[in-house]
Subunit: 427 residues, 2 copies
């Protein structure tokens, strides 16, 4: 079940979307059963691509940073979902510590933090913000463009607990993806819940683990509703010791690119798809759309120039890239005002709570849109039509959007399985 | 946490509403703790009256019949809340049997049933409708004004289970308030969940038990946030053997009316309220606004004429009234287009999922609005302002509405306690 959102598409529902709608009862029942077995991540956002013939997640973020882009009309959904999540974790909780990214000037991001504080407060928690920044040595107010103020406070560590001066939280919610590694101040907390767990941060997490879990889930799900799993599952491969600077591992990369392109070509032939196959090469760990490259031929990764090699070799926090994911490219055929758009779906616990379009006027339909200069277009809500229903037109936006919510939930389920499987033995 | 609704009020928030807003974190935490102790009703609707100096529930319905009056934009809230409720009861459920009221021509009510079927289906349940009507001996389609069709099917009873032909449900959801008594076909089901339980129906339920539980909860809550419990708690008394036809019990009635009026007068004096005190006399069991009377002086109940006595003596299904509730009248100072209005808040599980105004152009602010000829005005949603927040104006409609959601949840909590306490020993 998803909120009603306007999509960038019009025209009749595609066969895949129609299949999801027709099977919505079976789908919801299947998902309910899965959530009995697997604990959903506290929150997540999922980047989707919809090519008409394929609807697939291309990235699942466990530290979502765009809650401020959600339509405020959906905040009650966020709050109800967060209530459900909190009740499972520490029902008696009064205090929650939020640990954000180390930004003090990125007002877009800080508005996300403010929105998180707001919605978590509405669940009945005292929420305060503990900063990992060494320069935050005393409570530091940060003014936001809308007139609100965020108070960043220095973290205080005891033998087994973390908190702030005069603030002992039951749970620590990370909105910092730990790209810079796991800070020692967060290690060895045995009496507090850390959400998501430390190994969900990019210091340890690998996209390939996520998409391996997703492939299994997508296959089981697709069989359940009678579609080819390829319709929702992007093919991928991994190279584990690449050094772009020193041009090590290019052969592995070229071979894997060729192999994934072959797989795509085979499927395009099977379904009579005339698009040109491509893959997206990206760091297996990391975020922010750095270290991402669109490739249409294996030879391209051999002949990278210095600028391309530099771009691919580091991601956020200067982390060196050595493990690389080669992922099937899913072209997007959605546009907002003539610009290419990809939907980003937000989840809290097992609930879809909203979403927005990531829009980039200067990029092609086969390019990564999560990049500097990208323009966000929040998804508008439909308020005049009813929810997915037999009585509605098949190209009704809410009907169209149902499929997005389903695929995003499959990705969240994959994240749940991935987190279970990658849990360190000594944690 | 409540959806954002437009209220009929404008102007600065009243002191009570301000107090709720300022204490929202403490309130949500308190409620979360209460829901750990008490299982909320599957669903409920709560009629509120807001007099400015007092905001109180005057009726809590455990078989809500107006889901079709909720703004469709809030359906995702309903679905998420119903998912949470279903997971607690029978997480593996595939089939749910809905037992509606015995109406086949009341299209307003049937649209409520259709809305319930729709939202429950979206949680991943197969939902079918079993009718208690003896004339439904085969599956009977009923056309609705919007072109949809409801299929009423005859109930089939086994030794321990109830169902339909070819349909064995895990749970039975009653949308029939059992005013006509508990049908034998619903008794002695030991292997299925019946929601709400049979003793929540008007065959057994008494408003006085509800308001006794509410008084305790309101007192504990009001102490927690530092307000006089009277601000949210309507005084009441009961007469247990009244016969309006034979004019028995008039003395009890007059004495109790006088006593409640005295209590109100005392409080009005304390707070300098210039309104004229009144009580509402109504059947202790039953619904639909029959058997309801506004009284300003104890003498009025002695001198009832034949027409008034007839009106008071029966409620729905011809049930004879012998137990009577005398409830403090709370005048409403809300209006919609110059007509008197009272908010009706809908809940599923512990979540507020929407509401609408009950509006009656021909009635006074001290009269019962749930009466024949009443005109419903669904509450419109605000989509342009953010949720309750320190940064919002104090007379922001969502801020105003927060208090309604809190009081409605207190009433739902009272219903939970009431149902626990009145559970038959042999059930």
């Amino acid at each position: 079940m998803v909120p009603r959102l306007t999509t960038a598409l019009s025209g009749p529902l595609l066969d895949l979307e129609r299949r999801f709608l027709d099977n919505s009862t079976a789908i919801e029942h299947w998902l309910r059963g899965q959530w009995q077995e697997h604990t959903p991540p506290f929150y997540a956002s999922c980047d989707l691509r919809n090519s008409g013939f394929k609807l697939a997640p291309v990235d699942t973020n466990l530290f979502p940073g765009g809650f401020n882009n959600l339509n405020p009309a959906f905040l009650p959904l966020c709050v109800h979902a967060a209530m459900a999540a909190i009740e499972k974790i520490c029902p008696d909780a009064r205090n929650l510590l939020l640990v954000p990214e180390n930004h003090t000037r990125n007002t877009h991001y800080l508005q996300n933090v403010a929105r998180l504080v707001h919605l978590l407060s509405l669940t009945g928690l005292n929420v305060r913000i503990g900063s990992l920044l060494p320069e935050i040595t005393a409570p530091t107010p940060i003014e936001l463009p809308n007139g609100e103020t965020l108070l960043l406070e220095p973290l205080r560590r005891g033998p087994h607990r973390i908190g702030l001066d005069g603030f002992d939280p039951c749970a620590v919610l990370l909105n910092n993806d730990l790209s810079a590694g796991i800070p020692s101040i967060l290690r060895g907390l045995h009496e507090q819940f850390v959400l998501p767990p430390l190994h969900a941060g990019w210091a340890i997490r690998r996209k390939s683990n996520h998409f391996a879990a997703y492939a299994e889930i997508a296959t089981a799900f697709a069989e359940h509703i009678g579609v080819d799993p390829w319709r929702i599952n992007p093919a991928f491969a991994v190279c584990r010791s690449v050094n772009f600077h020193e041009r090590h591992g290019e052969e592995c990369l070229a071979a894997q690119v060729a192999s994934v392109l072959d797989d795509i070509r085979e499927k395009y032939r099977q379904y009579g798809i005339s698009e040109s196959p491509y893959v997206v090469v990206k760091a297996d760990a990391g975020t922010y759309g750095m270290g991402v490259m669109t490739v249409r031929d294996a030879d391209e990764v051999i002949a990278l120039n210095r600028r391309q090699r530099n771009k691919m070799s580091v991601v956020k926090e200067g982390l060196e890239v050595s493990e690389v994911l080669i992922q099937e490219g899913v072209p997007t055929f959605e546009t907002v005002s003539d610009a290419v758009a990809e939907p980003v779906i937000y989840l809290i616990d097992r609930y879809v709570v909203g979403g927005f379009y990531r829009v980039h006027g200067n990029r092609g339909k086969d390019e990564n849109l999560n990049a500097p200069g990208m323009h966000f277009e929040p998804l508008a809500f439909e308020t005049s039509c009813s929810l997915p229903a037999p009585g509605c037109d098949p190209d009704d936006p809410p009907n169209r959007f149902y499929a997005y919510g389903v695929v995003a939930r499959l990705a969240a389920l994959a994240a749940a399985v991935e987190i279970e499987r990658t849990e360190p033995q000594d944690e």
